[in-house]
């Protein structure tokens, strides 16, 4: 698995979905559940952080951006 920093939103959300489903299935032992829960929570935090950190990152292939956008 890719480390948290490099993980994209899509991958994080996919993983989160799997973890929630697995937790809800309730077939695992407690320790596995706790591990899953911790991982799930850190993914939620990761996603939230991603969404909050949306400063516009615009680049132009020609290197020049109109003054109102840069």
């Amino acid at each position: 698995m890719v480390s948290g920093k490099e993980m994209g939103l899509e991958e994080a959300l996919d993983n989160l979905e799997r973890i929630v489903a697995e937790l809800e299935e309730g077939k695992l032992g407690l320790e596995e559940n706790l591990d899953l829960f911790e991982r799930g929570m850190s993914l939620v935090r990761l996603c939230n952080a991603r969404l909050e950190s949306a400063e516009q990152r615009i680049e132009s292939l020609t290197g020049e951006l109109p003054s109102d956008l840069s």
């Binding site: 706790l34 969404l51 950190s53 949306a54 292939l61 951006l65």
Partner: protein, 400 residues
């Protein structure tokens, strides 16, 4: 002896020759209008053209106004005579009447032909339309850096965390086709999705999006392409080739990124589901004290319980603000679950008089886990006790 003309004499001669030719009088010419100039003198100048050729035209004020506004791109029939404007040696059609041509103009015919050809080559095939990525990380935009379309798109995708790559293009006028195709190719391998767009304009302005060059460049893009050219009613060849056509640049941007509000709600729901699933797991195990088995330490257990409790406060609070009414019942259930959670920690259990029994091999859950004479350990709410096993009964009927 060769005669040497002055320019004036020569133009005079050409003028006489052409204007005396009755075959060039009272004629109809069919073509497409471009370069309309409404001169302040009241005369109207324009160029009549077809695929391969063009001719200057003038409609003098004395002829009155046509019953429609002359605009670039119109297909018209012009009635008049050929004349020569001597000061510039310019052959022109001096219009005496003009009307819109109902038939297909050459440009329209070209458009239809290109559309048929590209369709037969499979460029518009539905099977090759690609699905848009749900969460694109790199969004390419091909448009004019100065246009309103770019601002419209950025307004929508701005709050979404992705790298936005602008590939500037000239989206109207001479060279626009090449510029758009080049800008599309420049994004190869760099994006997860491409938006190619421009705002509304005349049919002439949008025409570059009907070119084969642009169509093929879109076709060759390695990422799915959303096209948004002009307004709702403008459909170009680029739209047919693109994976998705959007009515406007704003609509294209909305298709390119997920709804952030929805996404945030999804995350909250995921939290709620996890916390709930964990609790119901704890509830099930409480009776069996199974959660103390294997290597889960009491400390880890209670620190996680504390975290879960905190998470619950946090989630419940946000739920209330986000979806007050709808989740009222859920909030109540969470409140209930919070009460239960306090009761399932190992300390709470030990405080009620239970003890954790373990041997060197781990937890003792069944009588057969021990041997007579073996030393075992009892963990109590406070302290521990070492004990020796006297005997055991492996009787399923033993109850308390």
């Amino acid at each position: 002896m060769t005669k040497i003309f002055t320019v004036t004499e020569l133009n005079e001669r050409i003028k006489d020759r052409l204007e005396d030719d009755v075959r060039l009088h009272d004629l109809w010419a069919r073509g497409e209008i471009s370069n309309v100039v409404n001169h302040r003198s009241g005369h109207r100048y324009f160029t009549l053209k077809d695929r391969d050729s063009q001719l200057s035209c003038v409609l003098f004020r004395s002829q009155g106004s046509p019953n429609f506004e002359l605009r670039d791109g119109q297909n018209v029939l012009v009635f008049g005579d050929v004349g020569v404007y001597r000061p510039q040696g310019r052959v022109q059609l001096i219009a005496r009447g003009i009307r819109l041509d109902a038939g297909l103009g050459f440009r329209q015919m070209e458009y239809e032909a290109l559309k048929r050809r590209l369709a037969s080559e499979g460029l518009f095939d539905l099977e090759r339309k690609r699905a848009l990525p749900k969460y694109p990380e790199r969004i390419g935009i091909v448009t004019s850096p100065d246009g309103a379309a770019l601002r419209d798109v950025l307004r929508i995708i701005g709050p979404y965390p992705a790298l936005i790559l602008l590939s500037p293009a000239q989206v109207q006028g001479d060279g626009a086709e090449e510029s758009i195709a080049l800008a599309l190719r420049a994004l190869r391998g760099r994006t997860d999705i491409v938006i190619v767009c421009r705002g509304g304009g005349s049919a002439e302005d949008l025409w570059c999006f009907n070119s084969e060059l642009v169509a093929r460049a879109i076709f060759e893009c390695d990422a799915p392409v959303i096209s948004a050219v002009g307004h709702e009613t403008d459909v170009t060849i680029a739209d047919f080739v693109a994976d998705v056509r959007a009515a406007t640049p704003t609509a294209a941007a909305e298709m390119a990124v997920p709804d952030l509000e929805e996404l945030r709600n999804e995350l909250i729901k995921a939290e709620v589901r996890m916390v709930r699933a964990l609790w119901s797991g704890l509830e099930r195990r409480r009776e069996r004290l199974d959660y103390l088995s294997r290597s889960v330490s009491a400390r880890r257990m209670s620190s996680l319980a504390a975290e879960a409790r905190q998470q619950l406060d946090y989630v419940a609070e946000r739920l209330v603000t986000v979806q007050k009414e709808r989740l009222k019942t859920l909030g109540t259930r969470l409140e209930y679950a919070r009460g239960r959670l306090a009761a399932v920690g190992p300390m709470a259990t030990l405080c009620r008089g239970y003890a954790i029994a373990r041997s060197q091999r781990g937890l003792i859950l069944r009588a057969e886990d021990v041997q007579p004479g073996e030393m075992i350990e009892l963990l109590l709410a406070q302290g521990r006790v070492l004990a020796r096993v006297l005997e055991y009964e492996n009787d399923e009927d033993v109850t308390w």
